[in-house]
Symmetry: C2
Subunit: 190 residues, 2 copies
């Protein structure tokens, strides 16, 4: 039911025994997998979650200017790869603290989910109330700033998933009701 | 902000060059990572998404009796690990077809999200309208059946995330309004 994905196989050696990998379809499977030629361990490659927040204070939204690639110098919402051992909300709050030195109160449930199948990622954002004006650039951030809805630098956003989350947020804020949104991106996002 | 997770480090050799791994905290990082002792590649371990559906037809819900461990012989909703190259919805529909031979129309947005941090998984379910009575047991399933809301075999469910999704669904159906739900499980499931 799903088209083959275009992600390049990147596993060359077995993480369990160090022997060479070959890509083949295991018994009872329908997909090409990295299989160890010696110990037969099958290595699965699964999509990763990027978690973040839309931090707001009054009518303004906090954005971060990126100090790293991809998107150096562009604006983004605080977000990053979810880690094992944490929940979606813990990961989103952690990234917000790391990138914007900001403490937030997350609003449940999750707000914006964007699938990006061709790079094997799901970008998940929560709405998040900033506790105060105590925020600053983290080490992956050049600057942080609050933007009114009509001040968002749409032409300087680093990622389409951020654009989608901000568009949903502003539209919902305008009509006065927030619902969870889910989108699929089919084009390359930087 | 997050407690160390209890997942056992499982990477022993580098997938890029086959050399031995050591676990240490790389520069500009705060977590123990699997780092190659020769080529210095850092191997990240991220949570995995399990995607599935709550398939319904009229007032009944389809459940699958598991033919594999964990939970052999217990009832579950059709679900499984999301694959690279597919969206959340494509993965959920694929698992529904593989496990219950059922074609469904998924309802957006995502309905039930359950974090299970201690095993590094997020279980995500969509509501899904069954097209017809054309369903059957897939190769990981012993039997499929439709259950009225008061017939759900609560004592014989394989996973807590399935219990949570079904509880939300039945409560929402009873009050006549469905919203996205997000929970965190802190106890061992399955």
């Amino acid at each position: 039911m799903t088209e083959p994905h275009s992600l390049t196989p990147t596993i060359k050696f077995c993480s369990q025994c160090g022997s060479a990998i070959e890509y083949r379809i295991p018994p009872d499977d329908s997909r090409l997998r990295a299989v160890c030629t010696v110990c037969a361990t099958v290595h699965y490659d699964n999509p990763k979650c990027v978690v973040g927040t839309i931090p707001f204070l009054g009518d303004k939204i906090l954005l971060c200017k990126r100090a790293i690639e991809p998107g150096y110098g562009m604006w983004t919402l605080p977000a990053g790869f979810m880690e094992c051992g944490e929940s979606l909300a813990q990961g989103a709050a952690r990234e917000t603290f790391e990138e914007a030195c900001a403490t937030v109160d997350l609003i449940e449930p999750v707000y914006s989910l964007v699938d990006i199948p061709h790079i094997g990622q799901i970008h998940i954002f929560f709405r998040a109330q900033l506790r105060d004006h105590d925020f600053a650039a983290g080490h992956e951030t050049l600057a942080v700033a609050l933007f009114a809805h009509d001040e968002i630098p749409w032409q300087e956003l680093a990622f389409n998933s951020v654009r989608v989350a901000l568009q949903s947020f502003i539209a919902d804020a305008t009509r006065g009701e927030f619902n969870t949104h889910h989108h699929v991106r089919t084009l390359t996002v930087s």
